[in-house]
Symmetry: C2
Subunit: 343 residues, 2 copies
C-alpha cells in the first residue's frame, strides 16, 4: 500500500488529500513545551535524538497527518560548517558572521557529518518508529536563506549586508552559495540514507530578491540540489518552498526540478491552479493566523483551498509555520475537515 | 507643454522616461540631515511647512527628477484622527493602539483638517515653487497599511494582532478600514485642492495578506478611493503601490481603478510587461540596495528595467525607498542614465 503523500508526490491518486503542517511540532503543543524544558538550549534539543524523535512524533499522535517532518533547524548546517550558532529565547538566532572580506568556512566532510550524526540518528529512529501510512520528511534550508543568516549574523529586516555582497560581488558571493549548495546536498543525502522518504528545502527569504538574483541564488542552486539528489535517489520526491517568490514561482517550478512546490499564503489559488498545478504537485497554503482564529473563518478558507486545488495533485499545508498562539483544538478541527473532504 | 510625468500618466508619449525615487528626500542627503536637525521630532518636521518644503525640494535641485513628492509620513492620518503618534530614532513609529474591543476614533472633519493644515500649506507652497516640468505628487498610506500600525501599535514582523482582528471579526475590522478609507479620501482631496497634481497611495504591507483578505482590505478600499477622487478630480492620476502583492498585482490593476501601479523589486519584469502594462502605466522597480552598490551592477539592472518596460507606458522608480546608506553620487549616476536612455 503506497502511503497517500508518496502516491500524490508520484503523480498517483490517493484516497484523501494528504496533509501535514509546517512547524507541526512546536511551542503551541503543551507536550512539546514539556519536552523542550528537558533540553538545555534549542540546539541541544535538535541534537538530542531521543527528545527530537519525541517532539517529531507528538503531532503525529494528536492529528494523524500524512507526514512527520524531522524536528531540527535550518541553522544546523552553518553549525556543522564550524560556525557558532545560538538561539536566544524570543530574540531569534545568532550566527557567527561570514563576510565578503573574511574566509569562507571549509566543507570538511568527516567533521560536517560527525556534527550532524545525531540528526541522522533521529531520522533513522523515526523511520523505525513510523509505521503505517505516515511519510517521513527530511529537510534543509536553501543556500540563499542559510546565507542570509550567516551574512547578517541572524534574522534581518532589510537584508542589507547579504544583498550588498550578492549585488556588488556576485562571483565571491557565489562561492558562499556553492559551499552551501554542496553542504545541503550532502546533508540531505545523509538524511535519505538514514531513512528520509521525502525532502523539503526551505527558501524562507527567497521573496526579498529581484528576478535576476532570485534566478542565480535561489532557482539555480535548487536545480543543482535536485539534479544531484535525483541522480542518486530517483524515488525520493523533493518539495521546494521559495517563500514569497510571487510570480517567480513559475520560473522556479520550470527550472528548479522540484516535484512539488509549497505555496506561501499570499499566492492566489486560481492563479496557482492555472499556472503551476499542471507542472508540479502543489502544497499549501492556509494562513497560520487563521488556525489561531479557528472556527468558521478557518474552515471557510480551508474549504476554498481544497475546492480550488484539491482536484489536481495537492498536499494540504499552511503557507508558513504554526505559531505558538495556536490552540491545538483548531489544528484537530482542521485535520478532520481535510480528512473528510472529497471531490 | 505637458510635464513628462503627466503625459505618461495620461497615456501620451514623453521625450524621455520620467523618473523619481521613493524617499528621494531623506537621510542619505547631507542637506536633509542638516534641515532635520532644526526640527524637534520627526512629526515636527512633517508639520513645519518651511522645513518640509525645503527637504522636498532638496533632491529636485540635485537630481532634477520629473516629480517632487510631498515630504510627510503616512502616520499623519492616525495623528489627525486624534491618536498619539511618535517616532523614536532607530526604533520606528509608536502609535496609540486601536483594538477589536475598544472604540474607533471618530472622523471629525474640522479637527482632522485643522491638524493636517500645515501639510496642505506645504503642498500649496510646493506648487508655487515648482516651476517648469516637475510634477507634484501628494500621497497617503492605504487603509490596510495604516490599520496595521494602528492595531499593532507600530511596525510588526508577523502582523498577528491585525490579522487576528481582520480574520476573526471581518465586519468590525471593516469599520476601521471604512473609517480610514474616508479619512484617506478627504486627506487626498485636500492635497489636490492645495495643488497636488498626482496622488500615490502606499499599501506597504499589502503583501502579507492572502487573496480574499487582500481583495477585501486592499483592492476594494482602493477602488472606493479612486472612484470618489476620480469623480471629483478626473484629471488627477492615481498611482497605487500594493507592495508585495505578487500575482495579485493583476487583480489589483483590474479592480482598483488606479492609473498606474508601482512595482516592488521582486516583481519580474517580463511578467509585468505581459500581464500589467497593457492595462496601466507601470512604475518601478530597482532594488534600493543596488543604488547603495552603484556602478556596473546598478547600471546593468537599471538598463534591463528600461529595456524591458521602457517601450510601454513607464515611470522609472525604485521598488522601495532609498535607504540612508545610499551615496548621493549613485543617485546622480542613475538619474543621468535614465535621462539618456532612448528606445
Amino acid at each position: 500500500m503506497t502511503k497517500p503523500i508518496m502516491a500524490v508526490l508520484r503523480g498517483e491518486r490517493a484516497a484523501h488529500i494528504p496533509f501535514w503542517y509546517m512547524r507541526q511540532a512546536g511551542r503551541y503543543l503543551p507536550e512539546y513545551r514539556e519536552t523542550r524544558a528537558k533540553a538545555g538550549s534549542f540546539l541541544d534539543l535538535c541534537f538530542n535524538s531521543d527528545l527530537a524523535v519525541e517532539v517529531t512524533l507528538q503531532p503525529i499522535r494528536r492529528f494523524k497527518p500524512d507526514a512527520a517532518i524531522l524536528f531540527s533547524d535550518i541553522l544546523v548546517v552553518p553549525h556543522a560548517l564550524g560556525l557558532a550558532v545560538s538561539f536566544r529565547e524570543g530574540e531569534g538566532p545568532v550566527v557567527e558572521k561570514v563576510g565578503v572580506d573574511g574566509p569562507l568556512p571549509k566543507f570538511e566532510a568527516d567533521l560536517f557529518h560527525a556534527r550532524l550524526a545525531p540528526i541522522y540518528r533521529t531520522v533513522a529512529e523515526l523511520k523505525r518508529r513510523l509505521a503505517g501510512e505516515v511519510g517521513l520528511i527530511g529537510f534543509a534550508g536553501a543556500p540563499w536563506t542559510v546565507a542570509t543568516y550567516m551574512v547578517e549574523g541572524g534574522s534581518s529586516r532589510d537584508f542589507m549586508a547579504v544583498k550588498q555582497w550578492a549585488f556588488a560581488e556576485p562571483e565571491s558571493f557565489s562561492r558562499l552559495i556553492d559551499l552551501l549548495t554542496k553542504a545541503t546536498i550532502e546533508y540531505l543525502a545523509h538524511q535519505v540514507e538514514a531513512g528520509a522518504e521525502i525532502l523539503q528545502v526551505f527558501d524562507s527569504w527567497a521573496g526579498v530578491l529581484p528576478e535576476m538574483a532570485f534566478r542565480a541564488f535561489c532557482t539555480e542552486p535548487m536545480r543543482r540540489i535536485t539534479e544531484t539528489l535525483k541522480a542518486r535517489y530517483p524515488a525520493v520526491p523533493i518539495i521546494g518552498f521559495p517563500r514569497g517568490a510571487s510570480a517567480l514561482y513559475v520560473d522556479y517550478v520550470r527550472a528548479s526540478g522540484v516535484d512539488a512546490v509549497s505555496l506561501d499564503s499570499t499566492v492566489p489559488l486560481s492563479w496557482a491552479a492555472a499556472e503551476l498545478q499542471s507542472k508540479v504537485v502543489l502544497q499549501g497554503n492556509l494562513d497560520p493566523q487563521l488556525v489561531v482564529v479557528g472556527g468558521a473563518a478557518m474552515r471557510a478558507e480551508a474549504e476554498r483551498i481544497l475546492n480550488t486545488l484539491g482536484h489536481g495533485p495537492f498536499i494540504f499545508n499552511l503557507g508558513h509555520g504554526l505559531v505558538p498562539q495556536t490552540p491545538p483544538e483548531h489544528v484537530a478541527d482542521l485535520s478532520a475537515l481535510i480528512r473528510a473532504w472529497r471531490e
